[in-house]
């Protein structure tokens, strides 16, 4: 019986499924810390109007460049101080989390999905389409990501979807390369031959067998890339190439603070700390996921 069972095509091991993964992640202290910070930032983004003591654009012109309230007694109790227009930094940081999270998430999804689908198709079917896609990917790899995004943003102008497009237009390449490699490796495995022998169609083989085996790799890569996208968005905003300047984005706030850094250090420092905290948290979750799901990626 045992020998017969070995020949029966099986679904690949599920590694404990989604709940198993979550349970193992819960035993990973740094990943838990990261997840808590991400959850806090997400809550801040959702409930910003409730949590922020001031409207993000409201300027208190009598209290311009007011120091944090724990350093000097300022009327209005701006606990992180105010910027050059007298706007409350804490409120703007809370609202700014929306930009970072949404752009990061949208850019990650719009990189992951096309990258995964095209990579799967290219790696499984090979042939001319694979050749063309791979050449195109290689071409995009020749551009440093920030420089490419700067070029695209200079062409498209500021805006949310322009920003996402500028990031994802090159961002899919990494997912494509990983998915393609995985698909090629998986389709050479015996279980694929076995599935084909019992009459499974190509679509079924890809959807039921290959895809589940490589989802975790994409998930890990996606989380790690999200931190990268958030930094890129902040860098573009810092250069004035992100969203329209009236919207509070952390990168824009750091840039605004740069002009007054000699006298009011807090204006740049706190939004920057927010970026560091969020990126650090996302990376902690990403590395935790990698340790749990795919220890092989550690070599990277």
């Amino acid at each position: 019986m045992a020998t017969l069972a070995a020949w029966v095509p099986q679904r690949p091991a599920r590694r404990g499924g989604a709940w198993g993964t979550l349970a193992r992640l819960a035993g990973h202290p740094s990943a838990v810390l990261g997840a808590l910070i991400v959850a806090a930032v997400a809550a801040g983004a959702v409930f910003a109007p409730v949590l922020a003591p001031y409207a993000p654009g409201a300027s208190d012109l009598e209290n311009r460049l007011a120091a944090p309230s724990w350093l000097a007694a300022t009327p209005g109790g701006h606990w992180l101080g105010t910027d050059g227009l007298g706007r409350d930094l804490w409120s703007r940081i809370i609202f700014g989390s929306r930009v970072s999270l949404l752009v990061g998430l949208a850019a990650t999804l719009l990189s992951l999905l096309p990258g995964l689908v095209l990579g799967l198709a290219a790696g499984f079917y090979r042939g001319r389409v694979d050749g063309a896609l791979s050449r195109f990917a290689e071409l995009l790899m020749a551009f440093p990501h920030l420089i490419f995004a700067i070029g695209v943003m200079a062409a498209l102008g500021p805006g949310f979807w322009n920003l996402v497009a500028a990031l994802a237009f090159k961002g899919w390449v990494e997912f494509f390369r990983v998915a393609r490699g995985e698909a090629m490796a998986q389709s050479a495995r015996e279980y694929v031959d076995a599935a084909r022998a019992v009459g499974a169609s190509s679509a079924r083989i890809v959807g039921r067998h290959i895809l589940p085996n490589m989802l975790h790799t994409s998930l890990v890569l996606g989380t790690l890339r999200m931190g990268h996208f958030i930094v890129l968005e902040a860098s573009l905003s810092f250069l004035g190439l992100g969203l329209p300047p009236r919207l509070p984005a952390w990168g824009t706030m750091v840039a605004e603070g740069r002009e007054v850094m000699l006298t009011a250090w807090w204006v740049s420092t706190f939004p920057g700390l927010a970026i560091v905290a969020l990126v650090l948290a996302v990376n902690l979750v990403g590395e935790g996921l990698r340790d749990v799901l795919d220890p092989r990626l550690r070599a990277e």
């Binding site: 050449r135 290689e138 071409l139 995009l140 020749a142 551009f143 440093p144 990501h145 920030l146 420089i147 490419f148 700067i150 070029g151 695209v152 200079a154 062409a155 498209l156 102008g157 931190g227 930094v231 902040a234 860098s235 810092f238 250069l239 004035g240 190439l241 990168g251 750091v254 840039a255 603070g257 740069r258 850094m261 000699l262 250090w265 740049s268 420092t269 920057g272 970026i275 560091v276 990126v279 650090l280 990376n283 902690l284 550690r298 070599a299």
Partner: protein
């Protein structure tokens, strides 16, 4: 066999560079509006004749395919067009700004490797010690920290508060330095101008450390993990059993092998270094290519943006080529 491999790898860069130029051309043609309007936007009222003349000057009256051909042919000759804003050849502007950028990038790489390689090795040898934990915590922080913020904090702390370094620029106005190569450090050594050397190094320190921080973090992590892997291999055990001391085993036997993945990572990270250079040059008022591009974006000087993006991509492609060639040299198996 090795020569053939090198040759093939070198030839492989040609189609990529042509493709890069095409992509840059296409992206720049996606720009909203007529470049001529942008130029004229600065000069005010102008006649229809002048408008037509400008269109002809910029070859905008030709079909797009011909424009593309002209652009590619020009780029191959090193002619990247004329700056709208300054009416100067873009190539000359870029070449002028290049030494400052290269000087900063080299200094950043040197700082990064000088810190990261020893730290990575020590972290691997003393795995799970407090030193390892501290170093890897720092490296993780370094990966998550955007360069523009680190730069501003460094200026606030080390230039404004402590006054150890100047806040911006490449060399003080009061310092005279006769230009030879365009590299401040090199020129001051060549002309034995020690005051300029001191001033140049003080200006270079903060931007180099800030630009190098990301690379430092990545290299330290990769160095550590590849060193751990190499130390587990049999030839290391053999070396130890021959009675060699720990130091000799680590430095002579393990280090060279552990450096191979590090070289690849340095190559891949060069893109990050090039992108970071725009940010760091802007923050520190460093008169290099990065700042030139950022200024050009804001004055809508597209030929400069176009030319600079191409030069960045070319540098990146060449750097990757160099990395692959280093790889062939470092790993004798590649030559088989």
């Amino acid at each position: 066999m090795r020569t053939l491999l090198v040759l093939r790898r070198v030839l492989n860069t040609v189609p990529i560079m042509v493709g890069v130029a095409v992509v840059v051309f296409v992206v720049m043609r996606m720009l909203p509006g007529d470049p001529v309007d942008i130029v004229l936007g600065q000069t005010g009222a102008i006649s229809q004749q002048d408008l037509d003349r400008l269109r002809r000057d910029f070859h905008l009256d030709r079909p797009v395919t011909e424009q593309l051909y002209q652009f590619l042919a020009g780029a191959a000759r090193g002619d990247l067009g004329t700056s709208f804003a300054r009416r100067r050849p873009v190539f000359a502007m870029l070449v002028e700004a290049l030494p400052a950028t290269v000087e900063l990038a080299v200094a950043a790489t040197v700082v990064a490797l000088a810190v990261a390689v020893p730290v990575g090795v020590l972290s691997a040898v003393y795995q799970r010690s407090w030193l390892d934990r501290l170093a890897m915590g720092g490296a993780f922080l370094g990966i998550s920290m955007p360069a523009f913020w680190l730069g501003i904090v460094a200026i606030i702390v080390f230039a404004v508060r402590l006054g150890w370094f100047p806040t911006s620029g490449r060399i003080g106005f009061e310092v005279f330095l006769r230009p030879v190569t365009g590299f401040v450090v090199l020129d001051s050594v060549l002309t034995r101008n020690w005051a300029a050397l001191w001033d140049g190094l003080r200006h270079l320190t903060l931007p180099a450390v800030v630009l190098g921080a990301g690379l430092m973090a990545v290299v330290a992590r990769v160095m550590r993990s590849s060193m751990i892997e190499v130390l587990r291999e049999q030839f290391v055990t053999t070396a130890r059993s021959k009675g060699l001391t720990g130091r000799v085993v680590v430095l002579r036997h393990a280090l060279r092998n552990a450096l191979i993945p590090t070289v690849t990572v340095v190559g891949l990270q060069l893109g990050v270094l090039l992108g970071g250079n725009m940010i760091v040059e802007t923050v520190f008022g460093w008169p290099g290519m990065g700042r030139l591009v950022v200024d050009a974006i804001f004055s809508r000087d597209y030929p400069v943006v176009q030319g600079a993006v191409m030069l960045y991509a070319a540098t990146f492609v060449l750097a990757n080529l160099l990395v692959d060639l280093c790889y062939i040299y470092l790993d004798p198996r590649m030559a088989l």
